[in-house]
């Protein structure tokens, strides 16, 4: 039974194993109707597994799922008419044209011919694919494939939308376009469950975010509340020619108002409640034969919160994804 008082998505104690590996470990969360909820975590954190379970592509081992008040725990098909999904990889039919792919996906939801053709034309226009409408999907570029897959996920105008890494592997322009479409859908009250490894994307788009690491949710909060602890902090990033790690104790005593930290990319991160004075720091390092090649002011963001909460360096997360074949559309 659907009820407006019920959350759009309600997950309780969801657990999933693949042989000995725990992919999702006792996670619980709720997403309200019309909310844009982000699931942020590195590769292998359990994001896609969670989406697969919620959409009926994978079975759960334990827990409970409600979609719009419909109990989908044992019958994942029960709410499939309410959901749309944009998977992490394009999965349309290579031998069909872009237009035919969209019409076919609409037909799967029982939409009549004239309506699905009109909707397909509209979406091709929105995604800038009208010129490629009659070309086979196999001949599309990666970005075009991703956009058409996105269009196929919303062709039936679902009230609940699952987006699995929607901007991964596409060019900057396409990624911006996709983000704008996500924002538009959100304004139209579509409930959106978004997984991403792009912290900036989550910060920019999501109202609430859950950090997921090794199958466990380590924190869930409103984006504004997550950012509260880093608000007003002054951070300076110093790029240096050789390691300054051995100087950290000396720096701590020389600059007591500052906090120093060496990052994974070999920079020195300086944090302070007051604006950081660059000159004395550079002189201090150069006197000790450490060349400073760049000093850059850093605006504290969700990335800092993520690093604090999860202990995972955002830079490593990005590189990890790039290794997995991501072209990087997060700009």
């Amino acid at each position: 039974m659907k009820s407006d008082n019920q959350p759009a998505i309600e997950v309780s104690n969801l657990t999933k194993h693949y042989d000995e590996v725990i992919a999702v470990n006792d996670i619980s969360f709720q997403v309200s109707h019309g909310e844009l909820f982000g699931f942020l975590g590195p590769n292998g954190a359990g994001k896609t597994t969670t989406i697969n379970i919620l959409t009926g592509l994978a079975r759960l081992d334990a827990g409970k799922i409600n979609i719009s008040g419909i109990d989908c725990t044992r019958n994942p098909k029960a709410a499939q008419h309410l959901i749309g999904i944009v998977p992490d990889e394009s999965n349309l039919y290579p031998e069909l044209t872009g237009f035919d792919n969209l019409c076919f996906c609409a037909a799967l939801y029982g939409i009549r011919k004239s309506e699905r053709q009109q909707r397909a034309q509209e979406l091709l226009k929105i995604f800038g694919l009208t010129d490629a409408a009659d070309r086979k999907f196999a001949g599309y570029s990666k970005g075009m494939k991703r956009k058409l897959t996105f269009a196929a996920g919303i062709i039936h105008q679902p009230p609940i939308l699952f987006l699995d890494e929607p901007t991964t592997g596409i060019d900057v322009g396409s990624a911006r376009q996709v983000r704008q479409i996500i924002a538009d859908l959100h304004h139209k009250e579509t409930t959106i469950f978004l997984t991403t490894h792009y912290i900036e994307e989550a910060e920019r788009l999501c109202e609430r975010i859950a950090f997921i690491v090794n199958g466990r949710i380590v924190r869930t909060d409103r984006t504004a509340d997550l950012l509260e602890p880093v608000k007003g902090k002054n951070v300076l990033l110093l790029s240096i020619s050789n390691s300054g790690a051995s100087l950290s104790r000396e720096m701590d005593s020389a600059f007591p108002g500052y906090q120093f930290q060496s990052t994974a990319s070999g920079q020195i991160r300086v944090e302070s409640a007051e604006p950081v004075n660059v000159g004395p720091l550079v002189r201090f390092l150069e006197e000790r034969e450490v060349q400073v090649t760049e000093a850059r002011r850093h605006l504290p963001s969700l990335e800092d919160v993520f690093v604090q909460v999860t202990g995972i360096e955002a830079e490593l997360m990005r590189k990890d994804k790039e290794k997995a074949g991501d072209g990087g559309g997060n700009q």
């Binding site: 693949y18 959409t55 009926g56 592509l57 994978a58 079975r59 098909k77 499939q80 008419h81 959901i83 999904i85 998977p87 990889e89 999965n91 349309l92 039919y93 290579p94 031998e95 069909l96 076919f104 996906c105 037909a107 799967l108 939801y109 029982g110 939409i111 009549r112 196929a152």
Partner: protein, 245 residues
Amino acid sequence: MKRWVAFSSIFAKDMRAYYLKPPNVSWGIIFPLAWTGMFFIRSGMGLESVLELLPGVVTISILFGTTSLLSVTLTFERRSRSFERLLLAPISLELLMLAKTSGAILFGIVNAFVPIAIAAFLADMSGISWSLVVPAIVLIGIVSTFLGLFISVSASEVFEAQTFSNFFRFPMIFLCGLFFPILSLPIFVRWLSYILPVTYGVDILHGAVNGEHIMSFTLDFLILGAFCIVLFAVSLRNIKRRWIV
């Protein structure tokens, strides 16, 4: 109505994308032609042997047509993940798989009529009981397709599906009474004939074309029907267990 739209779209898409592709259409014609020619020459008999060979050639055309294409298309869609699109559709798995297999069933039925059309030019077919031949062809088409489905669900690669198909198909040529009467088989392998679904379809066809059959037609139809239900049910259970993990 919505379910019918989904069903017919899956059927139409498969027909267009796979079964009506020129290589498959030509294969559907050449394959039965080759089998007909081969057995006709091999038998060394005159034109009177055409009707004797017809049930076997019809069955083999359906069997190879359905199992080859279905196992390849399903495995391919699963590998490319486009099958997930179908699993996400708000239709039952039963209806989805019926839609996915209906194209192969139709392909098999059409294949069956290629040797029949050839035979019509070579022999007198006035004695054939078409009221038995047509439902038998439809049921052989369904049971062969569901056998192909069963095989596809067990395979993860196209070559695996083909190898697995041959494991079933080639013994059937010898064991199901297609070209050699079951009663002429050694007793210790004869039981194998009776656990293969095609045996019952061939028995109906032999009876309808030449008047020679081992079992009653009713029993043949009932057993074929039962095989269809069991193969479909087992395939669905395997899809749930293996593809939705």
